[in-house]
Symmetry: C2
């Protein structure tokens, strides 16, 4: 009989046993990099911007020339030239000179500030400056955005549009990312049918729910489909999935015996490490390794299966790709008391009520609509003596 672990123990064990299963790296074009995970630090080869740029339309100046300028006492400067956008400003500003410049334009040598056109008057090669400029006022200096040799993005970063912006600024058009781990999904249960359920039967939910959760987490899915609660069928499914995927999820079956079958098959084909986590939902979670590939046994109830995916399986995914840790996404105060959970760490789907308080959604096992209605979930620690109305709670993304 395998031990029941706490969630922390379970996650630590999974991390230890899967640490070496780092996916291979590939390069993808920046246009396909959204949602992928960086496999290397991105170190800037250059300064961004690579030249001092003005942030206003107006005149590039030597700041010191403008000191003391004001509405009643403008400073007069010679217009030494105009800097066109995209042009290398290859002349040097001397004291007493200025140059016409547009937002984003390159400052000529010698210039160290810019004055907005609104604070100037010009004509006949001369410009009156009505406002003094501090050194580097209205200027983005070389390397202000990203400096040369700076680590601009860290390995393990999941690429969002913001990171795409940084990659394009650096000219990294071929982006080193981890190959998507392929995760197989097997659904088991004698009551599960593909469609048109008779009385006593239900449609396969977990195949679709878990497959989309896998994809949503940046992995590829190998959808095996549903099998009956038969040792032979499950064993064949696992063997087949181990060949095609990097990890296997088996959800269900609902009958008590199936869970033992899953442990048994895992232990026959490889090694089972635990059977049971002190968390609710998710108690009957199984973890093992078969042919250097992790096998997770998930509960049959869709809601419980989803929570085990979200809290346990994603820790494996994050670990092998160095992804950054989960952070609570929102917080709020409880609208009601929540009773003690008697020693199991508990997770509850919640939503916000009209007063923006956090309301736990009452769930019975097997209810999938709650997941769809929820705006997140909260965590009740092990051995909490219940939580009172008004308690501040952190809400995690489903």
């Amino acid at each position: 009989m395998l031990n029941v672990l706490t969630r922390d123990e379970a996650v630590a064990l999974i991390k230890e046993k899967t640490a070496q299963f780092v996916p291979e790296t590939e390069k993808v074009n920046i246009s396909s990099a959204l949602g992928r995970t960086l496999a290397q630090d991105i170190v800037s080869k250059e300064n961004i911007p690579s030249f001092d740029r003005t942030t206003v339309d107006g005149y590039a100046v030597i700041a010191e020339d403008t000191f003391g300028a004001g509405n009643s006492a403008p400073v007069q400067l010679d217009i030494a030239g105009e800097i066109l956008m995209g042009e290398n400003a290859d002349f040097t500003l001397e004291r007493g000179q200025c140059a016409k410049i547009s937002t984003g334009g390159m400052l000529p040598k010698g210039a160290n500030a810019a004055v907005m056109v609104e604070h100037t008057d010009s004509g006949e090669g001369l410009c009156l400056i009505y406002k003094s400029a501090a050194p580097y006022e209205n200027v983005t200096k070389t390397g202000d955005d990203i400096s040369q040799n700076e680590t601009a993005l860290k390995k393990g970063t999941v690429i969002t549009p913001a990171q795409i912006g940084v990659l394009s600024a650096l000219g990294v058009y071929e982006v080193p990312v981890y190959k998507k781990p392929v995760i197989a999904v097997i659904s088991t249960g004698d009551e599960i049918v593909k469609d048109n359920p008779e009385k006593g039967q239900i449609r396969d939910i977990n195949t679709y729910l878990l497959s989309s959760a896998v994809k949503n987490y940046g992995c590829e899915v190998y959808e095996y489909g549903a099998v009956r609660d038969s040792r032979e069928e499950i064993e064949n499914a696992v063997k087949s999935c181990i060949k095609k995927a990097d990890a296997v999820l088996i959800s269900g079956g609902s009958s008590a015996g199936t869970r033992d079958m899953t442990v048994d098959i895992t232990d026959t084909l490889g090694k089972a490490y635990f059977h049971g986590i002190a968390m609710k939902p998710g108690k009957p979670t199984i973890f093992g390794i078969v042919e250097n590939k992790p096998v997770f046994g998930l509960p049959g109830h869709p809601l419980a299966a989803y929570f085990v995916f979200r809290l346990i399986v994603t820790e494996y995914i994050k670990n092998i790709m160095n992804m950054h840790a989960d952070k609570p996404e929102k917080s709020g105060s409880l609208a009601v008391n929540i009773p003690s959970n008697h020693g199991r760490e508990e997770f509850l789907c919640v939503k916000f009520n009209e007063n923006n308080e956090v309301v736990p959604l009452h769930t019975k096992s097997g209810i999938v609509s709650v997941l769809s209605e929820a705006e997140g979930f909260i965590r009740i620690p092990r051995n909490a003596e219940g939580m009172f109305k008004g308690t501040a709670v952190e809400i995690y993304e489903l």
Copy 2:
């Protein structure tokens, strides 16, 4: 000269002028539905579950038979049969009878509760019940999850794994979604080059940043690329994009004249409605309609362009697909004072410090790395007299 609007006025005008541009509907297989937007309410044709199911392994009973049962006074019932998983329980339980049942199994007629196997003892066709069951204890009743004719999912819902779960429970394998709007992205600026920038030039950031933002919002992108600040080039780009896309985004150019060119081209090819929103960043935003397609002029600075996309363009996308409104995702308290913003609604990138306080990230125009570093953004209302350290602020997702 077109008026400068407040953001609310701008969004209201965009919604009014684009309300009829609802995308066509298509059906996609449930396996491809993740991230798409529902084009119809999903009304359940049946009860889920379609039969009373037990949530435990044990015995289906008539609750009234068990009343008064306890450890020292068990109730004895005849075992009338066993219900296998997936089987139609087509017999009726009489008073004094029970039936063996597994989690998820169908209750026989007459039964209205289940007792966990842990609270029973059985042998020789008889079962001792040591705990009384209330009516419907340990039972999910017909339609408890989703009832017949209930609207299970609303039109405009963006499909997450949770919704995939509901769709599969209902047997909706072909999902009615909106066709992805195609949004064209044009980047302008004489200083912008595809790669290998010389002094005075910078790489094209906005094409990649905005294209990925468009994709991230569930739309398709038509990437036109960068053009110079020439009336002819921009006009040709807009004409070409209008033919291929449902909406056009033009970012930049940095020079003052280009923005007027964009307004002018929009007004020549169609009609420009506004040029300027009282928000920071994002002031020089342009909106018009050409051949029944919206055209948005965005600032050239990547950060400002992204904010206008996130706050203005997405309102158009959400409007035509009935997507649900934005909600703040997190909240926190300010780590520092923020000065008054003098009448413009202001948006600031922020991150959390080690004390979990909210720190605004200092940005100069044109800085893209801030976007990547930020954990969200906050909004300073128009005419706010500044905000003090400790003020609770809501944080929106970037």
